[in-house]
């Protein structure tokens, strides 16, 4: 007994505080966009376990995780960059780094956090530990589609200029490679999990543009050229999102702009392999982590619906209406569940991806993005 007690006291003193012993692998954060707060969630318990407040304007906010999955860096619309501790459920540091920002990324080594800005444009890079400014990269353009790639590099695109820039942060001074001729008005981009293929979606063109980042001098490659040729473009009430989870088996699945369909592209040849008509204009087309299914949500005013597409047949196999304003989906790391933000129902809903049964509803205030901590170990997220 005495021996056990000694061991206990010893281990407690080594740990310092009890919270340090708590693992974070199945935790996550939900952005509560209207209230400037984050809900801390636990995947295994399918529950919220706390709330972090005071993060400013979180409309269209996103976040990334530190390599140890303890800290999140939250990119607010108001230009705020906030570092939060998900164990202590508190704000560690917060800087107002610009007037209007849209997203960010963390470098592969966890040292740098980069933020993509609309106003004044450009990208700013911060020390992940202190949030001190490390590099300012002005672009004279709104920047979008910022991702991390191996080699302590960030890649992003310029909405106004139609360029993609690669910023290498491995030396003291960032080295910038500019790729021109990407096309008109890139609105978002994705990078594959191997960091090789960067695909920019274009608002002003009838194609997307890919880059092979393994090349020393990447050249823009149009893909899906003329995907809506001969068809009238429908009004776009919300820009689609492109993210690195688009690979379903051997194909990318990408949302079409101005059409009610998703497009399939062979991941090696980048040629079109099919199209699937959808309920509305897709916003997110997300492959389940195993790639077997693709889940799709839609733009206003058809945003109460989800469709599930089979990756082999490319056919819709399930459709349902979780509720008003389904903004975001997040799969558990191995894809057995999907969590949905249903903004106007003020709920996060949890579904089984095999049976499509609803497993749980969790109260949340105008929820939008859902981010599980396993993103910490993924390139491009």
């Amino acid at each position: 007994m005495r021996k056990h007690l000694t061991a206990l006291i010893l281990s407690l003193s080594l740990l310092g505080t009890a919270t340090l012993a708590q693992p974070t692998g199945d935790l996550g954060l939900v952005v509560e966009r209207a209230d400037g707060s984050l809900l801390v969630i636990d995947q295994s318990d399918r529950a919220s376990i706390g709330r972090i407040t005071g993060l400013g304007d979180l409309s269209h906010a996103s976040l990334v995780y530190s390599p140890d999955q303890r800290f999140a860096y939250v990119f607010g619309r108001d230009g705020g960059l906030t570092k939060v501790d998900i164990l202590e459920q508190s704000i560690v540091n917060r800087v107002m780094q610009a007037g209007n920002s849209i997203g960010g990324a963390i470098s592969d080594d966890g040292r740098y956090v980069a933020v993509s800005n609309y106003e004044p444009g450009g990208v700013r890079v911060f020390d992940a530990e202190t949030l001190d400014l490390v590099a300012d990269i002005p672009t004279d353009s709104k920047t979008v589609g910022l991702v991390d790639v191996p080699g302590t590099r960030f890649v992003f695109s310029l909405w106004d200029a139609g360029e993609t820039w690669i910023a290498d942060m491995s030396e003291a001074t960032p080295e910038i490679t500019k790729v021109t001729g990407m096309g008109s008005n890139p609105y978002d981009a994705l990078v594959t999990s191997d960091g090789r293929t960067y695909i920019a979606g274009l608002f002003g063109e009838d194609h997307l543009t890919a880059l092979d980042l393994w090349q020393d001098d990447p050249k823009p490659m149009p893909i899906l050229d003329g995907y809506s040729a001969g068809r009238e473009g429908l009004p776009v009430y919300k820009m689609p999102h492109l993210e690195g989870w688009a690979l379903a088996g051997t194909d990318f699945v990408l949302p079409a702009v101005g059409q009610h369909e998703v497009l399939w592209v062979d991941a090696r040849s980048l040629t079109q392999t099919g199209r699937t008509e959808t309920h509305g204009q897709p916003i997110f087309a997300m492959a389940r982590p195993d790639g077997r299914q693709v889940w799709v949500n839609f733009a206003h005013p058809l945003n109460d619906t989800i469709q599930v597409i089979d990756s082999l047949s490319k056919e819709v196999i399930h459709q349902f209406t979780p509720g008003p304003g389904v903004l975001h989906m997040e799969f558990t790391p191995r894809g057995h569940e999907v969590w949905l933000s249903v903004r106007d129902a003020n709920k996060v809903m949890v579904y089984d991806t095999q049976t499509f049964q609803k497993l749980r509803e969790i109260d949340a205030l105008s929820p939008s993005g859902i981010f599980f901590t396993n993103r910490a170990h993924k390139t491009g997220l």
């Binding site: 209007n100 609309y118 009004p235």
Partner: protein
């Protein structure tokens, strides 16, 4: 079915056969759906700042046409398929008066 229709018509007769705009739903639309591009606080994003001081000087009719027909060649879509004229008028007034 017929009874409900007659009731609706009578109730909205004073608004030229269009139902009175649902202020709460429209404010939600402006903040969240227009906010996709213009930001939830309307200070701008991919689309420009549309707060009252930024729109000062624009006449309501022009703003109404921009909302109704969009701006070709830009990301501003036409809202004609989704909003009635009285709803567009409400949104214009909401934007110009700073949401008060």
């Amino acid at each position: 079915m017929n009874k409900a229709l007659i009731f609706t018509c009578c109730a909205s007769a004073s608004f030229a056969a269009e139902p009175q705009p649902d202020a709460e739903a429209l404010e939600h639309l402006v903040r969240h759906d227009c906010g996709s591009c213009h930001g939830m606080t309307l200070k701008g994003g991919l689309g420009p700042d549309i707060r009252a001081k930024a729109l000062h000087g624009y006449d309501p009719e022009t703003l109404g046409l921009v909302i109704k027909d969009g701006i070709p060649g830009t990301a501003m879509p036409p809202w004609r398929p989704l909003l009635t004229q009285s709803e567009i008028d409400w949104v214009v007034d909401y934007l110009l008066t700073g949401g008060e």
